[in-house]
């Protein structure tokens, strides 16, 4: 098993996450797509640091996971606010800034 197998899996995860962000109408599923993209980056970092004695990639991956958790908490708090104002979580209906 070589490095490229992990990189191919990672690019698939990233492309799928990007597609989910673009395609899905519900805001929570947009957050799911962002998480998939962060997971793809994590997979790359961990795969590159497999034989690194200082495991820098793994340390980075841990920090990225923590940031993802923070991001999801803030994102859902904002989403609940948006839902209270617009009574919808559909990203294509929240277009008051569009003229």
């Amino acid at each position: 098993m070589n490095l490229n197998a992990f990189l191919y899996l990672s690019i698939f995860l990233f492309a799928s996450g990007l597609t989910i962000v673009l395609v899905k109408k519900n805001a929570v599923l947009v957050l799911v797509g962002i998480e998939l993209m962060l997971n793809a980056a994590n997979l790359n970092l961990v795969a590159f640091s497999k034989f690194d004695p200082k495991i820098s990639g793994q340390m980075f991956a841990i920090f990225v996971i923590v940031l993802a958790a923070g991001e999801i908490a803030i994102g859902l708090a904002i989403l609940i606010n948006v839902y209270k104002n617009y009574m919808t979580a559909n990203v294509s209906e929240i277009d008051h800034l569009k003229h």
Binding site: F14, V23, N39, K54, V66, L76
Partner: protein, 168 residues
């Protein structure tokens, strides 16, 4: 064929299937369970890469925390009494185009590159090494992340709380 190859293919197949389900399904709760499956399979792949601590953290934070928070987000922003919790799709054709560009562009770059592992001796105890590195080489980042988590805690409760008062 080595055992680790079989395990990798098995986990990758689970992951690709679950991601495909996320892409094509419209039932939000099932999509969230498929996302949990993706994160669990990814934790297995981290174990294959000798990253046990990252795998455990992945299981705890993603499968245990983030998916639950997302289910709460769905429950708070959808009427449960609605007939099925579903979602629609939009911008399908640009998204397919971008998917193909990213997938095959990135895949081509990986195919053309000649990246390999430079095999060196790994530390025998990854968890111990991680703990030592947190308090030596990565101390500043560690402290900054701790402070950021505090800011997130206060900020998220503030953002979620303020609207309630504004509504009254």
């Amino acid at each position: 064929m080595e055992t680790s190859n079989i395990i990798f293919l098995f986990l990758a197949a689970i992951m690709v299937g679950a991601v495909g389900f996320i892409l094509f399904s419209t039932n939000i709760l099932r999509i969230l369970f498929a996302f949990a499956l993706v994160t669990i399979a990814l934790a297995g792949i981290y174990v294959l890469l000798h990253a046990e601590l990252v795998a455990v953290i992945q299981l705890m934070i993603y499968a245990g925390g983030i998916v639950v928070i997302m289910v709460f987000g769905i429950m708070l922003t959808k009427e449960i009494s609605e007939k099925g919790i579903t979602t629609g799709t939009h911008q399908i054709f640009p998204a397919i185009l971008i998917f193909l560009i990213v997938m095959f562009g990135g895949g081509w770059m990986i195919y053309r590159s000649s990246l390999t592992w430079h095999e060196e001796a790994m530390p025998t105890n990854v968890v111990e090494t991680t703990g030592k590195l947190f308090l030596t080489d990565h101390l500043l980042a560690f402290e900054l992340v701790a402070f950021l988590l505090l800011v997130v805690l206060v900020g998220a409760s503030f953002v979620a709380h303020k609207s309630k008062e504004a509504k009254k």
